[in-house]
């Protein structure tokens, strides 16, 4: 067990409003407003930009000392009107901050005042105090708020399948959409930043980038055929966007792990197959076969490899499952998340042989992770750019996955999901190991 320190050193998490900002950027025409100090918005913008390399506007109600004493009502209303004038958004997604939450700001009261103002778009609010949870919680909270606050029971829609997006790259979101299409399933991702945060050049200035889940899809969510939520840790959450649809609107749902690796992808495609009443298309079967072939071809490189995995809890679980499939051993599974469900999710998903020596560090930081390495060295790290310094100090390769990737190019295009995503990840892992051996061992690895 890790020791408990009062000080956090090099965090393995970000704050809740960042996750909310990301979720709101996945709604078509939406703009995000943080209720608090200017710095929260600017830091979060800068951080997201460093990963996505895309313009990303996050507004602030810009608290002053006056608003901290007398309340943020005036700033809030002014911000709504100014945002509306400059961006003409379809939705304004408001996430609170530590400051507003500690002050006990009542946004519903403020919103009541502007009810009926004709040009204001719908406003979705989510409570995201950074002292409660991580960016992953803020993300899921905002998705839930979008569905809970925008859904209108009487709005008709076709028999759509709603997939609640996991915290993956725009490229993986495009893959998820492609698979719905491959099974001829009408469906939508909620939210969807596949284009908004990975788009092309602009012919003209575009304050809000094209793409994102249309508001009409959120409106008509109660009429959906079913929903799918991805993530074994998320599946243990009491309330999510999915459970809101189920409990309030009677929409049935499916909860799966991330489709990462062979078996988890099998489950995902089996579900799509069942929903569509179609066999898994041949190209996907071929893709699966290539993954199996590659796992055989590379198994001796990764066999017994001791790996430390870190990041959001569901990412950690999904990666661990695949590592177990390839014959590696997950030695440390670390996350800044503190849902309390990481261990049980790992135990139910990862084959016992691969986690014989597993240490689970939840609610942890990089100091905790480093401390475990003294007695439990690893051969490979799997996680975000934030592990670079640690990996360098240990002289262990780091395969970059997750968020943030800001010391390498193409974070927005990293593939993990499905057979082809897993294969791309396998290539990266195997090559990282080979490169490391090639550069550190006397035996030539001209041929692996």
């Amino acid at each position: 067990m890790k020791e408990h320190y009062a000080a956090s050193t090099n965090p393995c998490k970000l704050c809740t409003p960042l996750g909310a900002a990301l979720a709101f950027h996945g709604v078509e025409g939406a703009v995000c407003l943080l209720h608090g100090s200017q710095g929260c918005s600017t830091y979060i913008r800068r951080y997201l930009i460093s990963h996505f390399k895309e313009p990303l506007d996050v507004a602030s109600t810009n608290f002053s000392e006056h608003s901290a004493v007398f309340g943020g009502r005036q700033n809030f209303l002014e911000a709504l009107r100014n945002l509306n004038q400059q961006y003409q958004p379809s939705v304004i997604g408001v996430a609170t901050t530590c400051l507003a939450e500690t002050m006990g700001e009542d946004l519903s009261l403020y919103l009541h005042e502007v009810k009926g103002e004709e040009d204001l778009p719908p406003v979705v609010t989510v409570s995201t105090a950074a002292y409660r949870g991580t960016h992953a919680d803020g993300f899921h909270g905002a998705v839930q708020a979008l569905v809970a606050q925008l859904a209108q029971p009487s709005t008709p829609c076709g028999p759509r399948v709603l997939v609640f997006s996991p915290l993956v790259s725009p490229a993986d979101l495009r893959a998820l959409q492609g698979w719905l299409a491959a099974f001829d399933l009408p469906g939508s991702l909620i939210p969807d930043w596949s284009e908004t945060l990975d788009g092309g050049p602009w012919k003209d200035y575009t304050p809000l980038p094209p793409g994102g889940t249309p508001v009409s899809v959120l409106r008509s969510a109660p009429a959906a055929r079913c929903w799918i939520e991805l993530g074994r840790v998320l599946a243990g959450a009491e309330t999510t966007a999915g459970t809101v649809l189920r409990d309030r609107h009677g929409v049935a749902g499916h909860r799966l792990g991330w489709p990462l690796g062979v078996r988890e992808s099998d489950r995902w495609f089996a579900l799509l197959s069942e929903l569509s009443d179609r066999a898994v298309p041949e190209n996907l079967q071929a893709s699966r076969a290539r993954l199996l072939d590659a796992l055989v071809d590379s198994h001796k490189v990764v066999s017994g490899l001791r790996v430390a995995v870190f990041g959001e809890e569901d990412l950690v679980v999904a990666l661990s499952v695949f590592l177990a499939e390839m014959g590696a051993r997950v030695v440390t599974a670390a996350s800044g998340g503190a849902t309390g469900r990481l261990r049980s999710a790992l135990e139910s998903a990862v084959s016992s042989g691969a986690r014989e020596d597993l240490e689970v560090l939840d609610d942890s930081d990089f100091f905790d992770l480093e401390s475990t390495l003294v007695h439990r060295p690893v051969d490979l790290f799997l996680g975000s750019s934030k592990g670079f310094k640690l990996a360098k100090a240990q002289n262990v390769p780091l395969v970059r996955v997750g968020f943030p990737i800001h010391d390498r190019f193409g974070g927005a295009r990293i593939r993990l999901l499905g057979y082809d995503g897993a294969l791309a990840l396998l290539d990266s892992i195997v090559n990282a190991v080979l490169e490391h051996r090639q550069s550190t061992q006397a035996v030539g690895y001209t041929y692996y």
Partner: protein, 441 residues
């Protein structure tokens, strides 16, 4: 796209007889300001002090977003590149965070044996009313090192107020070291953060002039060096927005005069050397050395710049940076490359900066205070700017609009200060402006 009504007085044009540009105010709610907060102001000023623990007292975000974000290099310890936070939770917000802060300080000081510690208060610390001063005082007494509170609650003003809070902490260190062996020919450089090793370039210039640099505030900074800063005879203030206040305090308390300088471009770098020579006029060797240095550097540099200018002439630039004084230097530097500045603005410029900009910039140049993406995009399109000088937040906007970009902010990886910096700058401008990628659009 209309400019928000509250913002119109923050937008002007060079060459116009007009009321002074509105500045130094809180950002307009909902305007998507490019500024950060008070905490950010304090954090950027103190960040490069490499042998101190920088403990952010608050929930995790503020510490996470400022973890190793700048290229402020250290020649020795690198404590500044770690991220420390009290990571406050709900229970701390309810019951107060003092005991957690005290314990965190104790752990970190025992673990890293730093020469000092800075404790940054974030928004909610200002609300829950922790007595950070008292905790710091006790930790300082217990461990025998300075432990300095920085009152940087995000909502208590603008980024500039954060600079002031940081300077306040620095003032407590200054004057506590032994200055017996400080040379009479000595300076401090204030507002120089050693991004990509820039402070080392400048120190080497002054070494060649026979001048001792007692302390760089705060680039490649050490607590003990800062303690001795009052031994210097002259202060040079580079990032004037952040450090002029400190220079004034040092003048009042220790009688050290100061000069505002800039180390970007050609004239301004030369000027920064000659000003020091003029100050130490009693030692004529300083001026002679400065002349020799400037001549040697320019002999190398001018042909390079002339070649760049041939390739870049006629291009137009937009400049949006943190402080106004730097923008003035950049306009001049761009002119050496044949580039006209058509939009210029800053996050925290003061009235003097904007008046100078109004005079230095070509008539018609758009002037912006505390601008935002909508305005920046609009004016870049209107003026047909080819190049944007700014920071990470402006980069994707520039690229989407088809503009070349040079990072002139804290995250730059290539030194842009000094004469060598000007050569690097010319190269970087060329690499981006002349890239074939723009023709593919």
């Amino acid at each position: 796209m209309d400019i928000l009504r509250e913002r119109t007085s923050h937008v002007g044009r060079a060459g116009e007889v007009a009321p002074i540009l509105a500045c130094g105010q809180a950002s307009v709610a909902g305007s998507v300001s490019q500024r950060a907060c008070v905490f950010c102001g304090s954090r950027v000023v103190l960040y490069p002090v490499a042998d101190a623990v920088h403990l952010v007292h608050g929930p995790i975000g503020c510490a996470a977003y400022t973890w190793d974000i700048r290229g402020a290099l250290s020649s020795g310890p690198e404590l500044h590149r770690l991220s420390f936070s009290t990571d406050l939770r709900e229970v701390d917000v309810i019951h107060g965070g003092e005991s957690k802060l005290a314990q965190a300080l104790d752990e970190l000081i025992r673990r890293y044996r730093p020469q000092g510690a800075f404790v940054y208060s974030t928004c909610i610390v200002g609300l829950i009313g922790d007595d950070v001063e008292a905790v710091c005082r006790r930790a300082s007494a217990q461990h025998g090192i300075p432990v300095l509170p920085v009152h940087s609650e995000g909502f208590k003003g603008t980024k500039k107020d954060g600079y002031a809070a940081a300077c306040h902490a620095l003032m407590k260190l200054i004057g506590t070291g032994n200055v017996a062996d400080v040379s009479p020919l000595s300076i401090n450089i204030l507002g120089e953060f050693n991004l990509a090793g820039e402070a080392w370039i400048l120190k080497e210039y002054y070494r060649r002039l026979g001048i001792e640099v007692v302390s760089v505030l705060t680039g490649d900074g050490r607590v003990d060096e800062i303690r001795r800063a009052h031994g210097a005879r002259l202060n040079l203030v580079q990032c004037s927005g952040s450090m002029t206040a400190l220079a004034r305090q040092m003048e009042a308390e220790y009688g050290i005069p100061y000069r505002r300088v800039s180390f970007f471009g050609l004239e301004d770098v030369a000027q920064a050397l000659y000003q020091v020579a003029a100050f130490f006029a009693d030692s004529p060797s300083v001026l002679a050395a400065a002349q020799t240095l400037v001549k040697a550097e320019l002999d190398d540099l001018l042909p390079l710049l002339a070649a760049s200018k041939r390739r870049l002439a006629g291009k137009k630039a937009a400049v949006y940076v943190g402080g106004g004084f730097k923008a003035i230097s950049l306009i001049k530097a761009l002119r050496h490359l044949g580039i006209q500045t058509v939009v210029v603005g800053s996050q925290t410029g003061g009235p003097e900066d904007y008046e100078t900009l109004r005079q230095v910039a070509d008539p018609g140049t758009v002037l912006l205070d505390d601008s935002n993406p909508v305005e920046l995009a609009r004016f870049c399109r209107e003026t047909g700017a080819d190049l944007f000088l700014g920071g990470v937040k402006e980069r994707p906007l520039a690229y989407k609009l088809g503009m070349a970009f040079v990072d002139h902010n804290h995250e730059r990886k290539v030194p842009l200060a000094g004469f060598v910096g000007m050569a690097n700058f010319a190269r970087e401008v060329e690499e981006s402006v002349l890239s074939p990628v723009w023709s593919l659009r």
